[in-house]
Symmetry: none
Subunit: 219 residues, 4 copies
């Protein structure tokens, strides 16, 4: 079955059938589309199995439980979003403009994931390690936003508000307009609306001016 003579590149050849490459990712992706559509408890492992065309045993070989799978999906997604945000933010633009990028990327990410975050509020008493880890991931994400806001404060673009609270306010705004958006709503309009209200709300005179200039340029 396996060539007995030589295996120069991978000296430590494992026994048995080698793992199908990329299978873990395939599962993860399939699970994401499922979890993004329905609530955690509405999703059945059979659905995931069907969506990604893999055997149930295989699923459990890669993820030891439904919860593990779910959190893996969440972490993966939030990680990707964080990476995107970090990229968006790692430029030389003035901080006030970065807010626009943040809002755009975030809303775009959740555009097709409106129901992505359920379950997070699991019964408090069984705050498992996983749930704690979720909080860590989440705050790593919001950290990116918060840091941007702090830089904006330092640059005099944003008033001296509590950046933690301001971050939650911004995230909440985005969730609100996305979760209950109307059929005709378009991404760019909602982005504009959110940025507009938020930056007027927390910006200084100069911060607001920067955003306004940028907007005019875009249009």
């Amino acid at each position: 079955m396996s060539a007995p003579l030589s295996h120069p590149t991978f000296p430590r050849r494992r026994r048995g059938r080698p793992p199908t490459p990329g299978l873990r990712d395939r599962i993860l992706r399939a699970a994401e589309t499922i979890f993004a559509r329905r609530d955690y408890h509405e999703v059945q492992m059979d659905d995931v199995v069907e969506e990604c065309g893999v055997g149930k045993g295989t699923l459990y070989r890669y993820f030891p439980s439904k919860q593990h799978l779910f959190f893996a999906v969440m972490f993966d997604g939030i990680q990707r979003l964080r990476t995107e945000l970090e990229t968006a933010v790692g430029t030389e633009e003035p901080p006030a403009q970065k807010v626009h990028r943040i809002v755009h990327r975030t809303l775009a990410f959740f555009w097709d994931r409106r129901f992505f975050f359920s379950l997070i509020h699991r019964s408090e008493h069984k705050m498992t390690g996983e749930a704690r880890e979720w909080l860590r991931y989440r705050s790593a994400l919001s950290r990116v936003i918060r840091d941007t806001l702090e830089a904006a404060v330092a640059a005099g673009h944003v008033r001296a508000v509590d950046t933690r609270i301001a971050t939650e306010i911004l995230l909440g705004m985005m969730r609100g307009v996305n979760r209950y958006r109307a059929d005709g709503d378009r991404l760019d309009d909602l982005v504009a609306a959110v940025v507009d209200v938020f930056m007027r709300g927390v910006g200084t005179r100069s911060g607001r001016r920067i955003v306004a200039l940028k907007r005019r340029a875009r249009a």
Copy 2:
């Protein structure tokens, strides 16, 4: 209207064992505390039964299914909140100040109901009649806010923004600060922060001034 023979106030000595007075409300209240703590699917009917010290059959006598109970709790709660908001809004104050009242009442309502709204995003394809009714309730609630904003626009306190979107933004802000609030956060501070950002964000110069005056008065 009432026949003189059958006494209207004591219409007729009801026969059989009379219903335990207030039992329906007791169940509703117990269910609310349970549903507010855990996700719909984590809640078991036995929990509700235990919480309000009533027999399981009785539960089902008043609410024919778990879903019915859940929606009854939701509708009841949202109804109460709407009534509160309508009261808060039915004054002669300038519209800009009403926003403060709205935010205060709403945040106070959800302060102990952080996990109150789950499940609302049930799988879309089984949009049952109940779910549709939920949307009606929800929009009746947001209507109160939206009307206030429109009055504020008319009064020149708020810019000519899309009030539907502005409403979702405001609701989202409140949800955000409440859902992920820190341990030390106090209600009044979060109210102030939300009103501050929102009214600066959407207010006109005069609208902002009114809110600022009021705030100074409160302090």
Copy 3:
């Protein structure tokens, strides 16, 4: 509450409200129509309650359990049938003709009670006293038929068959034609068919002749 002075006619006057006369029978009758339509387990006490317009507590005052009620209905019914059969049989006719009367009365009785006898075969291991009593009632009923057959044997109208088995055969025939009768089937035709086959089957030459004569007379 009770007149203290004199009660000449009913010296032992009971306390409290006197029982509603005829209530027991009303319940029994209502239960019969219900049980005749549906299987024991399909019938709910609430159905019975509704059918006879009596309170549930009252039902249980007269019959201590669903089983008791059911058996009371059965016994009552079978008793009435037995009485009818005894009347039908207590004439001076030749025995062979009595068979015709038996079949007619029995089929007429079950015509609207096609599903009357279910449950009789309760789980064998819980052969309660009630079930035993049922067997006694049932054999009292079949006894009437069997006696008639024995008289017919003695009279030379019926061959020397095992009358116990012949009785079951006759009862089985009747059940069969009634249970699976077609929509257009009329009582008299089925009676004729059953009597015809049965009497040819067990009758002697003279017995058959008697039945045939009678039939011609009827037509």
Copy 4:
């Protein structure tokens, strides 16, 4: 018919855990013994599970509900009986003798299934698809008998009776002697009794003679 590449007899090494061979039949058999002993509503799925030593989930994997299981048992049983009857009837014997075979096979089949047919008379108003199918099965069974009788009429062994009614009469006779048989009753005696009465009842002179000859031969 079969592509040469995919081997027809071993079509393709089925993947995953192979179904336990004969499990469906094992369940069906276990369910039959249970349902044959107790009434539908007295039977609990746990009983079936225990009887065939299979997990509850497995039960539901093969039969999606209690009703489905029940009807599967019924259809299976009645099917087998029909096959037996068709075999018994598919000979060159004179029709009158076939009746004897029919009675023998049928009584033998029900000998240990005395309580097999309950529930069939479910509440009429909910004539589900399954119940309708039951009627089809049942009439397919009785059809075999009826056809035999018609052949017997054509052959001059049976009088010109209504064969539909005669069939129900015969089935009813068999049910009666079996359902209320005494402890000492033996199958052959009951078969003889039923055939005797029935064939005398419906037979012509020549039909009776044939049966009588056959009986003497058997003895």
